[in-house]
Amino acid sequence: MPHKAFAWFILPSALAMLLFIALPLVSIVIQSLYVEHPQVLEQVESCSPFGGCTMETRVDAQATAALREAEPLGRFNGLGTYLNRSHLATGEIAEILRSSDGFADSLRQIYQLPFYRALLFTLCYTFLVTPLGMLMGFWIALAVNRIPAMLKGPVIFVSLLPMIITPLIGSLVIYWMVNSRGILGSLLQWVTQDPTLSIAASGPLTWAMLFLYGIWIAAPFSFVVFYAGLQTVPQDTLESAMIDGANRWERVRFVIIPHLVPLATFVSLVQLMDNFRVLEPIIGFNAQARATSLSFSIYNDLQAENGQLFASAAATSLLTILFVIVLLFPVLIRTWRDFSRKGAH
């Protein structure tokens, strides 16, 4: 296709992405370098009939509003926001490393810093839920492949539900069940014979619940893709493996799994991207006291009741995007190699 025709066809789509994805990135970079104006303070002398006069410091609301109106970005702060306590916390970490006794202790102290707390949960969620969800999906696909054909349609229908459902709705539905007054929560109390047991009150249980929820919504996608892959497994390879004496497990290990590997790469890429942005479950499960993610920190900064923290949100956003790029890097390199090889001949 000639360059000119290509340009006209791609123009609307490229314009949309440029204006609403690329430009906001620039806006994030700029915002992260500024910080909100502090409140304008004024000294007022207040006198009471018997107490005499004292100097008081008050917030000059009018002047503050005027200043914020005039310079909505705030004042220039350089990399200050990145290095402060709510983000990379370089000063705090240097202090922790200097004064702590032992490695475990310094790790525990670093975990108290909000950015590292969010980062740790996000990474744990991404790298636990992605493989476990795929494994679960693979098992379901193997099992569904064996059941009578007439059951397959309804089974696929029900299996799609957790994936298709709005994440916030899915997490609320589960949250109401595992709530200490809900059916699963009560069941858990009955099983452990501990009437005070509450998932929300325990850090490890909250994490486990969020991971299980993640697997619940992630498994169907892997299931559908792997199930479709199973339909195209070459039958003659399977048969020759049988003739050569491969047992059932060996056939799965040496014929089926290698056949599914390209699909698994695709699924893991999509799931890594989706799991890394985990936000809605934390809101749905009301879990922010026990677990926060990078996305949730940004959401929280933008929600802040008394003034949205744009600089803080922008700094976290930029750090998050850097992590996303690191995460994607192996894929990008591989795609690039494939493409160069294709271009070569």
Binding site: M17, P24, V26, A143, F157, I169, I283, Y299, F310, I325
Partner: protein, 293 residues
Amino acid sequence: MSSTPSRPNHTLTIIATLFVLVWLVVAGFPFLWTTWGSFKVEADFFSRADWTNALSGVNTIRQTGGAFTLDGYEGAWIQNEFWRAGLNTAMVTVVVTLLSLVLGTLGGYALARSGYRYAFWILIIALVFRAMPHITLVSGYLVPFFELNIWGTLPTAIIVLVAINQPFTLWMLHSFFLSIPKDLDESAMVDGCTRFQAFREVIVPVMWPGIITTGLFSFLLAYNDFAVTAMLLRQENQTMIPKIASFLGSIESEGNVMFAVSSVVSATVPLFLLVMFFQRQIVGGLTAGAVKG
């Protein structure tokens, strides 16, 4: 070799069937339970004393006179004007789906037919855009949108959702277009069509299955979005999902958690219907992406 592999292994089939049954309960029961419970009062849905209350509806009968009640739905849809959020959602999802498809088919077609290196780079950039958490972009929108005074309105949210949808739509339609032979549009152009006529009269008609499948996923993306609509719409323009989120803060404290439950159930109904009618296309779309992408 202990057993003849060609003989169907009944034990394994039984184990597989049992496993599938367990999975069906895990996947489906939460929705069944919540739907059932949405017709009860709070004391039954959250029955600390005895879970069978939720089945028999003891408190529902005592409070309302019947075993099922529409109180939750009435409170959400009428009292709290959930119908307004429903209308907004309908508007946003329909427009976003249509616009995404128009932009996506044009762009996807160009990417599939151009052999130049820059087409590859556009796809890679789209992949990186697809990977960025939506909330990171939202933090970039707010200040400019406040300054331009376009924050809070439905058109703004719609355009943003279309743009955020583009990377995915481009990838998916691009791979569908690749499966249509080049000869088709080239012969149309030999016959005297312009490039755009060939695209509209020859390619789009054979692309309908791909367009419908991509449209389903665009619909889902717009319908399921929380980050964009929650942050970019003002209260009266809210769609269903942010409305439900705002129920959580304001209503739970007043003891009307059943409003949230019934609106959650209401919001699952369109998704349920979607899967029911378009199961084949959804499954096909997921696997097409996997096989070709």
